[in-house]
Symmetry: C2
Subunit: 391 residues, 2 copies
């Protein structure tokens, strides 16, 4: 089935990313579901949607697990099979993968996959602690290392091996903040300069405040259908033609290399092979920029540039809007925000908009082939998906 649609996206929804006061996770998710249902009036959700997979990373934020059933109920889908998937910050990347299995299985022709996280009602210290649960307890958390620290270790390794600079990392922030200014749903719609990034407070050297993604409330979803059924629901289906998911050791200390993520490489290879496309065919991508450095590493692991050359890619502005391969047109985790469980399908939402010509001021002209890349933790999970439209 190389290059053939696995499933088709017939609709998608995204809550505003930012602070949502006074709502629970379940309600926040319903905002995304409502947009997706409203966008597709021929769909009768209660009757047509046969399963839900929802990425939700942390039950600590609201002292609330069992997210699947509550989100299904609040989205008007009471009764359907609803399962929470968790793979750290790749929780909804894993939901998407699970939904693809479900549609291909023949047991569920239409499924909703999404994700949600409510974070801003907690202090930064609490959020940092909850996020740390995605890293290795005995060998990382126990010794006090947090996610900025883990990615700082990777960033310094890359600086040492390839001469990557703090300025190059800062340019990722500048680009993604600029893109976010064109996205009304982004959390932080504010331009920054290289100087501002470099002068911001050090979190874990070389990562400074403006190198880090945002603590955000948000929800996202997409609706997947059997490709044969897609035209019944929309004139503009977006097909998923490649899907990859892979795992790695949970602890950094067990890995052969700190300058790349093996899980991303495996997931991307699986997705490219299935889709029968090359990195050169990708016209727009959303990659996992939990820290600016992570976006640079993703360029290399996804084959957007040779190993060690990601700094040059950003120096040459090739991944900016208007460049050869615009990356994170949504603003990315960096500036759109990173409500962790929601991120994977929020990336898919952006690619859906891009490939259906609905991305407004940040539209990549004539984009037909896109990619999303979602990472869990420090890379113990990665997913990659490839999208194509006929438009």
């Amino acid at each position: 089935m190389k290059g053939k649609p696995l499933v088709s996206i017939i609709s998608a929804g995204l809550s505003k990313f930012g602070k949502h006061e006074g709502v629970y996770t379940r309600e926040l998710f319903s905002y995304a579901a409502k947009e997706a249902f409203d966008r597709c009036p021929t769909l009768n959700p209660k009757q047509d949607v046969k399963a839900m997979f929802i990425g939700h990373m942390g039950e600590a934020y609201e002292h609330q697990g069992h997210t699947g059933s509550a989100a299904a109920d609040w989205s008007g889908l009471l009764g359907i099979p609803a399962t929470r998937t968790e793979a750290a910050c790749a929780s909804s990347g894993a939901a998407l993968r699970s939904g693809i299995y479900a549609v291909l299985s023949g047991l569920a022709d239409i499924v909703i996959v999404g994700g949600v996280e409510k974070m801003t009602h907690r202090s930064t210290a609490e959020v940092t602690e909850y996020l740390a649960m995605a890293s290795d307890y005995p060998f990382e958390q126990f010794h006090g290392i947090t996610f900025p620290g883990l990615f700082a270790l990777m960033a310094t390794a890359h600086m040492n091996a390839y001469g990557t600079t703090q300025e190059q990392m800062a340019k990722v922030a500048v680009k993604n903040h600029h893109h976010a200014c064109l996205n009304p749903k982004a959390h932080l719609q504010k331009e920054v300069t290289v100087e501002t990034v470099l002068a911001s407070k050090v979190v874990a050297w070389p990562l400074k405040m403006y190198d880090c993604s945002l603590i955000t409330d948000g929800a996202s979803c997409i609706i997947l259908a059997k490709p044969e059924l897609a035209k019944k629901y929309t004139d503009q289906p977006v097909h998923i033609i490649g899907s990859g998911q892979a795992s790695d050791t949970i602890g950094l200390y067990q890995r052969k290399s700190l300058t790349s993520l093996q899980s991303t490489k495996l997931a991307a290879k699986a997705a490219y092979d299935m889709a029968a496309v090359n990195p050169q065919d990708i016209q727009v991508a959303e990659v996992h920029d939990c820290f600016t450095y992570a976006e640079l590493m993703a360029y290399e692991d996804l084959g957007f540039c040779p190993v060690g050359k990601s700094g040059q890619l950003i120096d040459n502005q090739e991944t900016c809007l208007g460049g050869r391969l615009p990356v994170n047109t949504s603003g990315g985790l960096k500036a759109k925000g990173h409500p962790v469980g929601a991120t994977g399908t929020a990336q898919a939402y952006e690619i859906y908009l891009q490939l259906t010509g609905q991305a407004d001021k940040r539209q990549v002209k004539d984009a037909q082939t896109g990619l999303t890349h979602n990472v869990g933790g420090s890379g113990a999970t990665a997913t990659a998906h490839i999208y194509r439209s006929d438009n």
Copy 2:
């Protein structure tokens, strides 16, 4: 595909249930995986197993989420797609369902599905709090109600509606404790009498200590294959011929009835319809006895007896070993133990043993058709699966 195998179980594994001191969740899970791999020497796990779904309910116990990747690594499956599923105590029922989708999808011919929970290193108060995360935060947890309280509400409603007695509930405990004495992997291998149960400390009236399931460490898994491939790996495949999963409101207060679980009824109907069997065809079943009352309610919701007559079923010993339809031959959650994330696939393990004639002293003679029933929380999730062997 009515009555046809969806997938085939080619192997299964279960850790000893009980206290495991000094091990992390990932290691505990590897015990179950090792048994499954050892039992199936023609399987090359690293090469043949294409995905993992693992039920794990609570990240609070070890301050550790992201269970999928770590469990995959420690089971010798580094690199494969590995996703944690969470649907409270039905987390591995949901993993099983997800694995069935994956095999049927054609993307993964062989998958491992399982579950794990490490609980005994925490105090009873901590465990009670962590478990409560599966109930509704704003309308249940916030007001101090815990799971024994929620099931006590359901039990009293049933007593009021149908005259069900505390003695009848106690008989469920007597039966399951007796069965557990025949299962060397059960946590509590100890007979109890109706008098002991009735005299035990009240937890939430009418539920007493011996009406409650156990806080246990344990792990379980089964290996699913495309039915056409099963004979390559085993002479005794067990086919899953029906699968159902359903959701309900997370809060009890929103439901029309307290004397039955709508999610169980929906999941069971879906599974029976798919399998083209009736409740009368089931020869052995593992049902979700988180409290003794829950087993009685399951008899009715699964169609093992008419509504309101579950007390008579246990009075007549029809669900004891040697009876018409032995239920919870493993000892059930009540006496084998309830490591919450592991329970769903531990039930499948028991049915696998029963249908392959490997259940030793607790073997149900000539059993060919079995059922498992796994409930999340107070019933916001339920799964039902139906199994058949050719043996």
